[in-house]
Symmetry: C2
Subunit: 410 residues, 2 copies
């Protein structure tokens, strides 16, 4: 079957390479023959082995009836959304690795695919090469999924790992990530949680059945985490991880958010280091399931794209629709209304006086310690409570709050 | 669609419960309506809510044309093999959780399913509720898989965890596992590696494309592991885990075996504790992927069965064959010919004299220590080498070997 690729960047070129490298075993194992016949990119690649099939004109692809499957690896919503829509309308299956597109236009494109009797698949949009979307939608189909949580951004996880394991500062670890090519020159989308937020929107939509758009999803990054926080977390037998999570609440609403969390060392999520990603899914029948692997990288991500392409090709006549419904109004819960415990680091003029105050305010709190702890420095974990209430209570104490980090229960 | 269940034990009754509990959400999300209409068991269940549909007569199921999908949760090869064969021949899809059946009759049954244009699916046969089979066969289809390794037996992992974390002896931990219902009265199949061995045969068949039968697969259990070994492993920054693994060798043969291994604490497999299971898959494009969760238990395992049932029901008209080829002759490598490093615990009359000998024999070895180490007790890790050569070399030293455990490189 003929495949076209939109966007010849890191992932797109990886897709061409995976198909070239493994076409023989793909054919043997799946009885499908894949051939990349067109690649769209606005740039020139005069030395590429694909130069004869490269085009700058989208019409060469959408109007070519010999192309059955289109891979979209451009990123961004425009022009990807238009291109994907046009391909679906022309009866072509589309496979995308573009999390921004799926997070903001997923429902529209899934609907369009169904109307046109073709597949729109996007395993690679969350967790790079790690199987996540299909295991949730197929293997766990007998479950009601109540919660999904993950380490979904490899760049920020690399930075946190360097801070935890090697004692590097945030700034130094970010610089190293940039030097290694893990972080972009403008690292905002990674370190401020935007990338993870798009991915958790996709997972929330998939697990709970209605589109969750990025608008209104609370997202907090890791740029304010300090080595003091890392040290106090260690004394709580925990590590700090950037956790993206979605939880169905008893009231029917969904809590969807991204923020740093203290994760106990006994949790499988605590062992996810470096650029690796992991996704934990909580089903009512299966309990907790975790999927782990390389969340980014050219060939790893491309391998997930190619898995979807094979699925389209092997079942071209047997479309297997999956997807979710339209956005529900008033569906997202306010995180301030949700239960959590908080880690707090603060400066206090008189630790003794403040401890008496905190006892009054919270009942009991658990104090943490670190090496070289400053005389005026205190750190503690509050009992569980509504986050808004906990934050209001904190204001009553004579402390200068320096850090507040949620404590996860995974 | 009407579903029959063969065997109303732990998993079979769980399947009935999952379908009963979640039929509404299953219908909403997958557009399939499932109903259990017949259950086969030789026992009486006079108080069961299913007593009206229970039968002792297999003919009531195989000859009932209203039954589309048959779930086999009996365990064992006989009569399960005959029953499954008859159902496939009658054009019924079959979903099985029976690892012994798939490990010993997988190729025959997959062939029969294909000939009769129906599905034979068995996600639950490896790793209970954890998605493993479908992620490997579908999501990772763009990869050549070179290696798969897992903690696939929850009972032995529970026992090892109790030895490592709580310092219990093997005997005490086994007793606790039996009291908790994790281990059977005769625990041989779990603690001696037979159960894990059947599962790795299934994964090897799936990943490498030809049936690996249990005959001739080397399997070693955990009953000889001592707390001394656990302590020495800890000083090597490792834990002892029962690892089932299959590896494609450059010569074309496959190494398939089960044995205890020292696993570094930095490995994700080291954090798999208690009755949890995990499976690591190494693909040429994706790198390492790990799937983790509850490897046993009524509802968890049943949830994987029901995922397969939904797949059959949602795609009843669109059979998606997967499977593997027939056994290859001379395919399994002898583990003694394969590379590994070995952990050795031994008694020696003169530690000094033996250290000089070992230096001569192995070049260098890494000595391990533990608290309360006996005066005549030594423990070390050899360099990597062919296992047969390493074992032959060990015989040249004046030591009384007490324990030999492979060192894993996962």
């Amino acid at each position: 079957m003929n495949v076209a690729i939109l966007g010849f960047g890191v992932v797109g070129s990886g897709v061409a390479e995976v198909i070239k490298n493994n076409c023989k075993s793909i054919e043997e194992n799946n009885n499908v023959s894949l051939k990349v016949t067109r690649i769209l990119d606005i740039r020139d690649f005069p030395d590429s082995e694909y130069k004869d099939i490269l085009t700058k004109n989208f019409e060469d692809i959408v109007s070519d009836d010999s192309i059955d499957i289109v891979v979209e690896t451009m990123g961004g919503v425009s022009p990807a959304f238009n291109f994907v829509s046009e391909c679906l309308k022309k009866g072509k299956h589309v496979v995308s690795s573009n999390k921004e597109l799926v997070a903001t236009k997923g429902y529209e494109l899934l609907t369009l695919a169904r109307e046109n009797n073709v597949n729109f698949l996007f395993e690679a949009s969350v967790g790079g090469g790690i199987p996540i979307i299909r295991p949730i939608s197929r293997c766990l189909a007998g479950n009601n999924i109540s919660e999904v949580a993950g380490i979904l951004n490899g760049t920020s996880n690399f930075i946190l790992t360097k801070m935890i394991v090697d004692g590097m500062s945030f700034e130094a670890a970010l610089k190293l990530a940039q030097d290694k090519g893990y972080a972009e020159k403008d690292p905002t989308a990674d370190v401020e949680g935007l990338d993870a937020m798009r991915k958790i929107c996709i997972l929330a939509s998939l697990c709970f059945g209605s589109q969750v758009y990025p608008d209104g999803v609370y997202s907090e990054g890791i740029s304010k985490i300090t080595l003091e926080d890392v040290a106090f977390a260690a004394s709580y037998d925990s590590v700090i991880k950037l956790i993206a999570r979605a939880k169905k609440l008893p009231c029917g609403k969904a809590l969807v958010m991204v923020s740093p969390c203290l994760v106990k060392n006994s949790s499988m999520l605590s062992g996810v280091n470096g650029v690796f990603n992991a996704c934990l899914v909580r089903g009512d029948m299966v309990g907790d399931v975790l999927m782990y692997g390389q969340g980014a990288g050219s060939l790893a991500t491309a391998s997930a794209v190619v898995g979807d392409v094979i699925d389209c090709a092997a079942n071209a006549e047997n479309r297997k629709f999956f997807g979710w419904g339209d956005k529900k109004d008033d569906y997202l819960a306010d995180y301030l209304d949700c239960e959590t415990a908080l880690y707090v680091r603060a400066a206090a003029d008189s630790a003794e006086k403040v401890k008496a105050q905190l006892l009054n305010i919270f009942g009991s709190v658990q104090y943490l310690t670190r090496e070289n702890q400053g005389e005026n420095e205190i750190a503690f974990v509050t009992p569980s409570g509504k986050e808004g209430d906990l934050r209001a209570s904190l204001e009553k104490a004579d402390i200068n709050v320096l850090s507040v980090i949620r404590v996860s229960d995974y």
